[in-house]
């Protein structure tokens, strides 16, 4: 049973998590915006855990069907999000040589 106190605690968790998300993103160079959007897309894939729990506790055909769809979509979110983010980030590497020389001969 969810009581008033757990509701308040939930609000605290939400507030602190919101600040955390803001802080994590606020100092990001723009070159990482797309990978980071994809990365945060992966992180909310944790919903698959909720869908799994719901499916394990399913006791009717409706719950089973919806739970199955939920797990399938959640798994798609997790795996797809990971693969895409990994592919994008794998491409970031610094140049082997020093910074390109400035203002050489004309």
């Amino acid at each position: 049973m969810i009581t008033a106190m757990t509701f308040i605690i939930a609000l605290y968790i939400f507030m602190l998590a919101a600040f955390t998300g803001y802080e994590v993103i606020s100092r990001v160079p723009s070159i990482l915006h797309t990978p980071l959007m994809s990365g945060s897309n992966f992180v909310h894939g944790i919903v698959v855990v909720g869908a799994l729990t719901a499916l394990f506790n399913a006791s009717s055909v409706l719950e089973q069907v919806v739970g199955f769809l939920g797990v399938m979509m959640g798994a798609g979110n997790v795996v797809g999000g990971y693969v895409v983010t990994d592919r994008m980030l794998a491409m970031f590497k610094p140049s082997d040589k020093a910074a390109p020389q400035k203002g050489a001969q004309k």
Partner: protein, 473 residues
């Protein structure tokens, strides 16, 4: 069974820590790769731990447990397998719509959790039911909206759909859906509750579609980012209903991070979120191509290449056209030649180059361009004035000077790259067609600008040849 519950709870705690820490590491190019791996371990850990939940299912579910576990494994394999295959095989240029699709799936999963909470036998009370309705609404809108966004970016839906009174109808659909949702929560397990729940989810899916169809393709990145934040929020809310703090934390972190990211993107295009969502971009722009048009000069690829070979500084402005032509690799070959000849080469990236902030960086990185040659708009915009050559490849709107001067232009006020201030401007373009925003670009008619017509891949090949022919001196 108490011990088991502690194991599950502590696994979730460790996992949410790893997820947030991973996201933090992803926010710097140096640690980014290890960041996604960290987050990946967290996710694997919490998913595995959730299977311990099969030992503590409710009485009602016990007879179905075997079927449920088989369904769960099937769902994981099918969903994960499909997404993994899709994510590996898709071209880099198609990444934004893939992100949209995977994001929509997350929203759908949150909506599914909400359906079960609204129809299942587990008594929770009115507050969690209302929270579940909110999460279901946001998740469903994210699902259907993301699918529309995917279709638009994938070129399956080209024209924005707009009609008179659209905003009123959208608002009506949304209000009605909220009303149905509240009814569904209050009629939980009573007559009419099932119907209200069904209508509520249909309405929520419809609301997501209505909200997305009038938005033009150029604004889609902002919309995807917004739906990413939406899904995060929905996951967080469903986490509360499931009494799972890991979902609450991970969801809400993404909800706020995604919102901030959305604001940053919208700012990059000099538009506010409400502007993106509720105004019809480009509608009032019929009369921009007025005034006497001069003829745009054109120049052969080889001549342009020679000019750059003997310049001392070149700034390259890549746009989506470069990616479409798959010419990033060729471009980098050309850049390496210029560097070998002592030319100072930099890349200037507009915040919304490509189809998403940072998308162009990813595309260049794919071609092996080191990220320390790539500069953001703020860092490089002042350098154009003392640069010999600005080479614009497949970009248009982001270098359109009328954004600075022409108040009637729909892109007026959008920050642009000052490529027009370079001593010489070359534009590689397939023809005189207009950019994504369908606005004429006066830069092309400037005296210091010359067009190099042709497919970017072909033109760059010619340029590489031309510089090679000059030899090293």
């Amino acid at each position: 069974m108490i011990l088991l519950e502690y194991i599950v709870a502590i696994s979730a705690l460790i996992a949410s820590g790893l997820l947030v820490y991973g996201l933090k590491r992803m926010s710097s190019p140096v640690t980014a790769v290890s960041g996604i791996v960290t987050a990946g371990w967290g996710m694997l850990f919490v998913t595995a731990a959730s299977f311990l939940g099969i030992f503590s299912v409710s009485e009602a579910a016990k007879p179905h447990l075997v079927v449920n576990v088989i369904l769960a494994i099937l769902g994981l394999v099918i969903g994960g397998g499909w997404a993994g295959w899709k994510g590996r095989s898709v071209a880099m240029t198609a990444m934004p719509q893939m992100v949209a699709l995977f994001n929509g799936m997350g929203g759908g999963a949150a909506a599914a959790v909400s359906v079960i909470a609204l129809t299942g036998p587990k008594e929770t009370g009115i507050v969690p039911l209302l929270v579940t309705v909110a999460g279901g609404l946001i998740g469903s809108m994210s699902l259907s909206g993301s699918i529309i966004a995917w279709a638009k970016l994938d070129g399956r839906m080209n024209k924005p759909i707009r009609f008179g009174g659209q905003r009123i109808i959208n608002a009506a659909v949304f209000m009605l859906t909220v009303l149905l949702g509240i009814m569904a929560a209050f009629l939980y397990h009573q007559d009419g509750g099932g119907i209200a729940t069904l209508l509520f989810f249909i309405g929520a899916l419809l609301a997501g579609i209505c909200m997305t169809v009038p938005i033009g393709g150029a604004d889609m990145p902002v919309v995807i980012s917004l739906y990413n934040a939406f899904t995060g929020l929905a996951v967080g809310l469903e986490g509360y209903v499931m009494a799972d703090p890991a979902l609450m934390i991970a969801g809400m972190v993404v909800g706020s991070a995604g919102t901030l990211l959305t604001v940053m993107m919208a700012k990059g295009m000099n538009r506010s979120i409400s502007n993106v969502l509720f105004s019809n971009f480009g509608e009032a722009s019929a009369s921009t191509a007025t005034g006497p048009q001069k003829e745009a000069k054109s120049v052969a690829a080889g001549d342009a290449a020679t000019t750059m070979r003997y310049a001392s500084s070149v700034i390259i402005v890549p746009g989506y056209g470069l990616a479409v032509a798959q010419a990033q690799g060729k471009l980098y070959d050309f850049v390496k030649q210029l560097q070998a000849a002592g030319v100072d080469v930099k890349f200037a990236i507009h915040p919304v180059a490509g189809r998403m902030p940072g998308h162009m960086n990813v595309l260049l990185a794919e071609a092996g361009v080191p990220y320390d040659m790539i500069y953001d708009m703020e860092d490089i915009n002042d350098s154009f004035a003392d640069t010999d050559v600005a080479l614009i490849i497949g970009a248009n709107d982001v270098v359109n000077p009328s954004a600075r001067t022409d108040k009637s232009s729909p892109i007026y006020g959008m920050p642009i790259l000052n490529a027009d201030q370079a001593r010489q401007v070359f534009v590689i373009k397939r023809g005189m067609g207009m950019g994504y925003s369908a606005v004429q670009n006066p830069l092309f008619f400037q005296d210091n600008c010359a067009m190099v017509f042709g497919d970017a891949q072909a033109v760059l090949s010619k340029m590489v040849e031309a510089v090679k022919a000059l030899g090293t001196s």
